[in-house]
């Protein structure tokens, strides 16, 4: 795939490009994963958004042990490891880190870095866990405060026209991701899940306009390709986090002959199903789309919206198997993994496979055995 090669090259050069942008006076705004920071706000004030989504390396995870106990989600402990060790160059290059606080794992990250790395400038705002008018207002207040902070930080006023332009850009990106994702419904096009995930991860770091070109080229390449769909059970992969660098499950499923045709993750996969309206009050539109319209992650209560969404995906994407990939100690997902299988079975007759990870290489063997067995039972 030429588009993916281009993206890879772009990402290799990205850090030096960002340094140049910094020299030109552009601010770089890093933000915590979870999909609750509207990148539109960063772009509208001429700054560059970067999302921290690297993880999967156990040695970085271990470094976090000097700052927090092990009973937190390994993705967020990895973020603590990266920021305190200075080993992720993206953490080093940003001028401001924005943390939309979703659950207690993200709060632990925010508090730990707030205390141990006081030199890093942080802006935090909260994401409620229920969907109602009060919650929407609270989220809107949070992003309004963020808007002001960014304006002060960059010295650029976010006019409506600037915001409209950035919304247009981000809408286009979401639309393209949607298009690629929907191609997988029919099975006529060969969209590889690893490619889709790589595009997603790339989009958190790449230049926005460049990324849109890449997505357009990718779609073109897929449409032009004569590749036939592979023969294998269609799989939905879901969980809290699919980090850049955490490809173990994707690799094993593929090795075992499964075809992942849908990934549903709160962190690591960009929420791409929504579209932000460009008419009317733009900040309210952003809040509506990012908070209210988005399918909620597992730490919302009740989490039924997401569980219903998964059931629908199973039906719409002709899924034969659902792999629930949770990171250890992320309790919202662990608890849901107890009662969701019943719901799934009732609605679709399907059993799901639950896997758990702490980014440990030792997990690979047992995980492979379980995935092989699961895929084997689907083939029968």
């Amino acid at each position: 795939m030429k588009a993916l090669d281009k993206l890879e090259k772009h990402l290799k050069e990205r850090l030096s490009e960002l340094s140049k942008e910094k020299e030109k006076g552009h601010k770089i705004i890093g933000y915590a994963a979870g999909g609750y920071l509207p990148e539109e706000l960063v772009l509208a004030c001429g700054a560059i958004p970067l999302c921290f989504i690297q993880a999967g390396n156990n040695s970085i995870l271990r470094r976090s042990g000097a700052y927090i106990c092990r009973w937190f989600d390994p993705f967020w402990r990895s973020q603590i490891g990266f920021i305190t060790s200075g080993k992720d160059p993206y953490y080093n290059i940003v001028d401001l880190i924005v943390v939309p606080i979703t659950d207690n794992h993200v709060r632990a990250f925010s508090n730990t870095v707030g205390y141990y790395t006081p030199g890093k400038e942080l802006f935090v705002f909260g994401v409620p866990h229920v969907k109602d008018k009060l919650a929407l207002d609270y989220y809107l207040q949070g992003i309004n405060r963020l808007k002001k902070t960014l304006e002060n930080f960059t010295g650029v006023e976010m006019t409506d026209s600037r915001l409209q332009e950035s919304i247009g850009l981000c809408n286009r990106e979401r639309e393209l991701f949607r298009e690629i994702s929907i191609m997988r419904k029919s099975g006529n096009h060969m969209v590889n899940s690893k490619d889709f995930v790589a595009l997603n991860h790339g989009s958190f770091l790449a230049d926005k306009e460049f990324m849109i070109d890449i997505l357009e080229s990718y779609i073109q390449e897929v449409q032009d390709s004569s590749m036939l769909p592979k023969d294998g059970p269609r799989i939905l992969l879901t969980g809290s986090t699919l980090a850049r660098g955490d490809s173990k499950v994707l690799d094993i499923i593929e090795d075992c002959g499964g075809i992942i045709v849908m990934e549903e993750f709160a962190e690591g996969i960009r929420p791409y199903w929504g579209r932000v309206r460009v008419e009317g009050d733009l900040m309210s539109n952003l809040a509506e789309s990012y908070f209210m319209d988005r399918i909620c992650p597992g730490w919302f209560r009740p989490g039924t919206e997401r569980l219903d969404f998964l059931v629908n995906l199973v039906k719409e994407y002709h899924i034969k198997g659902l792999v629930w990939y949770q990171l250890i100690y992320r309790e919202s997902y662990k608890v849901e993994s107890y009662f969701f299988p019943d719901m799934l079975r009732k609605e679709t007759g399907m059993n799901m496979l639950t896997l758990e990870s702490e980014y440990d290489a030792m997990e690979t063997g047992p995980m492979k055995t379980r995935i092989e067995t699961y895929i084997e039972t689907m083939r029968r």
Binding site: I68, W71, N104, Y115, L134, Y138, R301, E331, V335, Y338
Partner: protein, 471 residues
Amino acid sequence: MSNYYDGLLKLCGFEDAEIENERPRIESSFEKLGIVPADMERANSWVRQNHDVSLEGVRKLLGAWLQELIDLVLSKEEGKKIVYFGFPAILGPGLMLSASSEDVFVSAPDMVLDHTMGQIFNKLTPILESGEANGLPPGHALCSLWQAKIGGIASGMIPVPDLALASSYFCDMGSKADDLVAAQYEIPVAYIDGVMDSKWGEFPEYLPERVHYLGGQINQALEKAEKVLGIKIAPDAWERSQKESRGFVDNLLKLLELMKSDPVPISVVELELLEALSGSSTGRGIREGTKAMSILVEELEERVKAGTGITEKRAPRVMMAAGHCSDPRVTHLIEEAGLAVPLTMVLSWIGGPKIEPKGDYDTPGEKMANYELAAANFHGTDASIKLFEWGSKVMKLDGVIAHYLYNCRPAATTSHAQKKYLEEKTGLPVLALEIDNFDSRSYSADSMRTKVETFAELVKARKRTGYKSLT
């Protein structure tokens, strides 16, 4: 006519007439709980081994927990509408519901099970195992308090509630476990949502938005509760519940003064009994508990006058956030190592500098939210650590046992920062101690003994060599 349990109940402060009056209820609830004659010997010696039953106030406190247990177990068959809330909780909504109808029973059932089936009968393990088998398996650092709640419901010991009041402002685990109960038993949940989104160092400041949001959520939950329970919240419910808790707070202030004495007059094991009761019961338990507390305060005044206490005079003084909820041996370990514990988290709230709530709010929900944010309870991580810093000054401490609950994310957030912060700010030695405050199977007293004893030696040596405690 006496029965097999009379002796234990008397040990727990029940009067003969009370037992006689309550006999059918006691028997019915014990049957549901699987409490049998063979349990009595163990319970008797367990209570005597762990509690200072020479104090009438302590005996009555144990009795108050038992009364709460009996009311809880029988609530459904006695026709009550049942509301369970998570722990810790903003108590206001529960108190208001309780004050609005005699037909509503509002409680934190897991805490009740811990303090009775754990601290009195030493029979908590099967309940925890039932929780593990019904959705909260071991090995995932899931909350053991919730394991007790789910286990209690699954084993039929405690009834399925009519409404769950979810503490969605503090903990993800609790609210998600409420979802689990809702999925299993099809019960409604009123989520009181909030976000602990303060930045490190922000306390005592907080944004008015937080008050509006959390307060609005409380108001909404109360409206939902009215609908689900078919009651009307009395217009003066908030004022009445405030007035009722006044007695408890006044006694707590007296206790704080008494705990400044050397030697400290009472073990933190007993303090835990009353602190936890105030956060778990909105009914008979807390009413009887407050009376017990008054007796206890008088008894402790006597001890202080006589210069007696539970440790040697001049024993080094340390703080710990709270005693163990189900197994007092874990708490006793600290005192057995020769350390006095005059300060807990609840006493720090009472004794630390008062942060005045900011702004005026009209609705009950906002008033509660404003109070709680100023009081630090549900503000954020640095807020609770700062309380300890302030509290350590009030109590002239020689050290801090900064324990954190490994399976409670809001508490575990402080695992490392708390030690570093308090050491730097107070100059005191701090022991970061990982525990499970509700389940001692993996985190037993013995598993912590070496750490605690070594720390105690360090603190004693510092004190002996003339280091000045914080003033």
